[in-house]
């Protein structure tokens, strides 16, 4: 088999390169958002995220210290201001050139002295220390502008995450939405599993009239668009007094998740060895005992697969939450909803958007990479059959 692609080095190279291209295409969009969430708003608008990974040449505009407060009389009617342009932190990176006018940004090397006319001079060292000299008139009023061209190393910050998650004054924060999402997801994942497991066992291992029909019904309901359920169920919830709220969204997710749960679990349980079950029956075990003591533990992989599906689906859901959960007060907003709101109100503030989006993406990604095996297994069981 390997001989198809395994022998000619050129083919192997072409293969590797095309997969690299494919992988890059697939990871670039996410990477862009991820990198952006660690940059300040100014950095994001100043340059594309792809250039933030490398040292970049940037022009910084800095003013010398205020001459009226800081000038020193050095005799002969001349005054001087001394100090360091970069303050106490110093410059991140190295200074390549500097200038005093926006028309000649890189006119001088570090260490050179610039002649500003009529005896006014400015000397700037590579470490940012400067001496600005001139007469009474020149060293007063507004301080001299200096344009520093510097190569700066990549610079990233956690400030966005702090702002989005922990800033109490931020009314558009994600902390509450995060908790709300969690509150929706956990019961909505656990409850359908139990309900479905019993039903799947009955459909797989118990004989009764109408079984085939019920299985067909489950297969049919698998693809019924949940859009159909929105208005009828919302009216129903209102009529029986649940209204919009967590209880409603938990019930809705349970209902919508059941067909897949029953289908996946039944397919798995049907494949369990018949001998075990029949032996247990001969030994006098009841169906209930067989289910709880044998089937449930053996079905763990299928249970895990469905749990991941349901978790991802409820965590990422927008529509069901919009319809069944989020009321006019907005107290119960979930993360997906919060992000859509931010897209409307903060459309250009990429540092906020990127961070908020990543907060909501992070948890499913962790689950995905940790449980990928079960996810794949579930996918295969759910669709190839």
């Amino acid at each position: 088999m390997d001989s198809i692609a395994g022998q000619k080095p050129a083919v192997v190279w072409a293969l590797n390169i095309s997969v690299v291209v494919l992988v890059l295409l697939w990871i670039f969009p996410t990477l862009g958002l991820f990198v952006s969430s660690f940059r300040t708003g100014d950095q994001i608008t100043a340059s594309g995220w792809w250039s933030s990974m490398f040292p970049a040449e940037q022009v910084l505009q800095i003013r010398a210290a205020d001459p009226d407060d800081n000038r020193v009389d050095i005799g002969n009617g001349r005054y001087a201001v001394e100090g360091n342009l970069f303050g106490e932190e110093g410059l991140q990176g190295t200074m390549n050139a500097w200038g005093t006018s926006s028309r000649a940004l890189g006119a001088y090397e570090p260490g050179e002295t610039a002649d500003l006319g009529d005896g006014e001079t400015m000397t700037l060292q590579a470490d940012g220390s400067y001496v600005w000299e001139g007469n009474d008139d020149q060293i007063s009023g507004r301080a001299q502008r200096v344009f520093v061209t510097a190569t700066q190393p990549p610079d990233f910050t956690f400030a966005n995450y702090n702002f989005v998650l922990f800033d109490e004054n931020n009314s558009e924060g994600m902390a509450r939405a995060f908790l709300n999402t969690l509150t929706v997801v956990i019961p909505a994942t656990i409850i359908p599993i139990l309900v479905a497991a019993f039903a799947a066992y009955a459909l797989a291992w118990m004989d009764f009239p109408g079984r085939a029909l019920l299985i067909a019904a489950v297969v049919a309901l698998l693809v019924v668009p949940l859009q159909l359920a929105l208005i009828p169920l919302l009216s129903l919830h209102n009529a029986i007094g649940i209204g919009k709220g967590y209880l409603g969204v938990w019930l809705a997710h349970t209902g919508f998740g059941l067909p897949l749960a029953i289908y996946l679990l039944r397919n798995y349980m049907v494949g369990l060895p018949r001998d075990i079950i029949e032996n247990a029956k001969v030994d006098g075990a009841t169906d209930f005992q067989i289910f709880t003591k044998i089937i449930l533990p053996l079905s763990f992989p299928a249970l895990a697969s469905f749990a991941i599906f349901q978790f991802l689906w409820t965590w990422n859901d927008l529509l069901v939450a919009l319809v069944f959960l989020i009321d006019a007060s907005g107290e119960t907003t979930v993360m997906t909803r919060q992000i859509v709101e931010l897209l409307g109100t903060r459309g250009g503030d990429w540092e906020i958007l990127a961070t908020a989006a990543f907060v909501s993406i992070a948890v499913p990604l962790v689950v995905f990479f940790a449980m990928q095996r079960y996810l794949v297994r579930g996918l295969l069981a759910g669709s190839v059959k």
Binding site: M1, I4, L15, S18, L22, V23, W26, P29, L33, S47, G48, W49, L179, N180, L182, T183, I186, I190, I191, L194, V195, F198, A199, A202, M206, A212, A216, A217, L221, V223, V224, P225, L228, A229, L230, I231, L233, L236, Y246, W250, L251, T254, G255, L258, P259, D287, L312, W315, L318, T336, I339, L343, W350, A354, I361, F368, V376, L379, S383, V384
Partner: protein, 335 residues
């Protein structure tokens, strides 16, 4: 009460309720209703065993009926009625459908949905097949697969934000921060484009988001199918002097055709219901409306339940052939 606490209580009540229901219903069946003792012991055991499946099935059937089957019927009814002020309904026959068919926005949504239905499943399956075949023999194939599969875990809303950044356009004289415009200018484009505002093509840019998500799904399943192909068939082809392309198209593809169809239909269903992407990225402006978003507009913005339900029925009708096909296949398999 704090929602988190409420959540914990719900889990306990829900899980405890489920376990309690199954346990006590069984107990009731075996000890009280049809006790396995006394003169009718044989008949009782048989009766208990006839009823037990329904005890196991009841909660699931009840939830399925209430949350999926009942809404289908109710939606048909709503689509044929008009809601009057004061909570009354009036039967209007097909008026809602007539109103909908007369609306340009509906036909725009139909056209776009059909476009989505053609492009997304085809492209996702195609890319998935390509990725599955290319990564199959690579040493780092599993890592590559993980990365292509990863978008599956990302919400459609998250993906919408991700691609908004990709498509971002800035004025011509400042640095571009969207990579698409950056590349566009790099390769000779004249000025930055607002990709999501160019009618017709913006549909394609929205579809790319879903293709990006669904390709991983297609790849995982097709990759498993490719591995299931008997090696002898491929070896025989090599011996006969087939080149790699012939092997792929003439030996492998025909053998996994069944799986390709399954993948295609699964993605078709996901595509039919596409809502979040359009809702978050364009909200149907610039001629990007799709049926699910049109329906949401009608139901919750215009508050017109009749037309909203009618458009939901259109989605249902489009799903119906796949539904019948799935049921047919499932029944065939069970025999």
């Amino acid at each position: 009460m704090h929602p988190a606490l409420q959540g914990v209580i719900t889990i306990i009540v829900g899980v405890g309720g489920c376990i309690g229901y199954f346990y006590f219903a069984n107990l009731f069946l075996d000890k009280v209703l049809f006790p396995a003792r006394g003169p009718n012991i044989g008949r009782n055991i048989n009766r208990a065993n006839m009823i037990r499946p329904w005890v196991f099935l009841f909660p699931a059937m009840f939830a399925l009926g209430l949350y999926l089957a009942y809404p289908v019927v109710e939606t048909i009814r709503l689509s044929l009625t008009e809601r009057l002020p004061g909570g009354e309904y009036r039967f209007v026959g097909l008026e809602n459908y007539q109103f909908m068919f007369a609306e340009a926005k509906f036909w725009e949504a139909m056209r776009n949905n059909l476009l989505w239905l053609i492009v997304v499943p085809a492209a996702s399956t195609g890319f998935g097949l390509l990725a599955a075949q290319l990564t199959d023999r690579l040493r780092w194939g599993n890592i590559a697969k993980s990365i292509i599969f990863m978008p599956m875990a990302i919400s459609l809303v998250g993906a919408a934000v991700i691609f908004k950044l990709v498509y971002e356009a800035r004025p011509e004289d400042v640095a571009q921060i969207g990579i698409l415009n950056h590349l566009y200018l790099l390769f000779g484009g004249s000025e930055p484009q607002q990709w999501l505002q160019i009618p017709f093509w913006n549909n394609i840019f929205l579809m790319i988001v879903l293709i990006w998500i669904q390709t991983g799904f297609a790849m995982v399943i097709l990759s498993a199918a490719l591995r299931g192909i008997p090696e002898e068939t491929v070896e025989a082809a090599i011996v006969d002097g087939a080149n790699p392309f012939q092997i792929f198209f003439k030996i492998k593809i025909p053998q996994i055709m069944g799986t390709i169809v399954v993948v295609w239909t699964t993605i078709t269903i996901a595509t039919l219901k596409v809502f979040d992407i359009v809702f978050a990225m364009t909200n149907g402006q610039w001629e990007t409306q799709v049926l699910a978003n049109y329906m949401y507009d009608k139901l919750f913005r215009a508050n017109d339940w009749g037309v909203g339900s009618a458009s939901a029925m259109i989605i249902m009708l489009m799903v119906l052939p796949i539904l019948v096909w799935n049921v047919y296949n499932a029944r065939k398999e069970m025999r």
